[in-house]
Symmetry: C2
Subunit: 109 residues, 2 copies
DNA sequence: CGTGTAAGGAATTCTGACACG
DNA sequence: CGTGTAAGGAATTCTGACACG
């Protein structure tokens, strides 16, 4: 949580390797970026770099596409899930605030 | 433990990215392979692919080299540590065997 | 021994575009 | 809309070698 240096989220994999890993063509991978489904970083020279997390997202996308789901719909679903996750976090945060207010600050739980 | 599909040990990073990540030149990275300090995999075409674990090993190597340690010595140290780890594993395994023999098979602990 | 570099070739990646449907 | 492909160029990677020390 919040660990942004984690192996899973480091953007270090080039598109060729991602293609091998996912079975998708480079064309497809670039297109899904165009449709705002994934957000690789760029090396200095401009080469795309992906994380393991991106690879997993791409595999999910591939599955949905096989079921005929449109990229637009996939994007809507991703946004929705993202918002739910954010709400959850906020709710937890407020709950912790309440608890702390009544019972004082405590380290973990 | 034994998780070989783990993000840390998957060989997916190309030498250029490893160079950025470690600050080492590609020449150095290839040389350390020649000296048996790291063991990248190869893509179909023959391009080297490294894991996060390899990257960490390379950073350790870089630190030792700065202290003037020779690649040969670094290699000896690595072999020694590796053997100690193996011994430890074997010892634990035998210990578990003893315990099971006396108290019967139990799932975890 | 450890590392830099120039060399030549092959594979990689990038972008913008045309194509099909 | 989603994906293939040919196009041209720029950067990447590879190997074997010469260089210095």
């Amino acid at each position: 949580m919040g660990e942004d240096t984690s192996y899973k989220s480091r953007k270090v994999i080039t598109i060729g390797v991602v293609s091998e890993l996912t079975g998708l063509s480079e064309r497809q991978i670039r297109y899904y970026e165009e449709r705002k489904l994934i957000f690789p970083e760029r090396s200095e020279r401009g080469n795309r770099k992906y994380s393991f997390s991106d690879v997993e997202t791409l595999i999910e996308i591939a599955n949905k596409r096989e079921e005929g789901v449109r990229t637009y719909e996939i994007r809507q679903d991703m946004i929705k899930k993202n918002n739910l996750a954010k709400d959850e976090k906020l709710r937890n945060k407020m709950l912790r605030g309440q608890i702390n207010a009544r019972f004082g600050i405590q380290k973990n739980q």
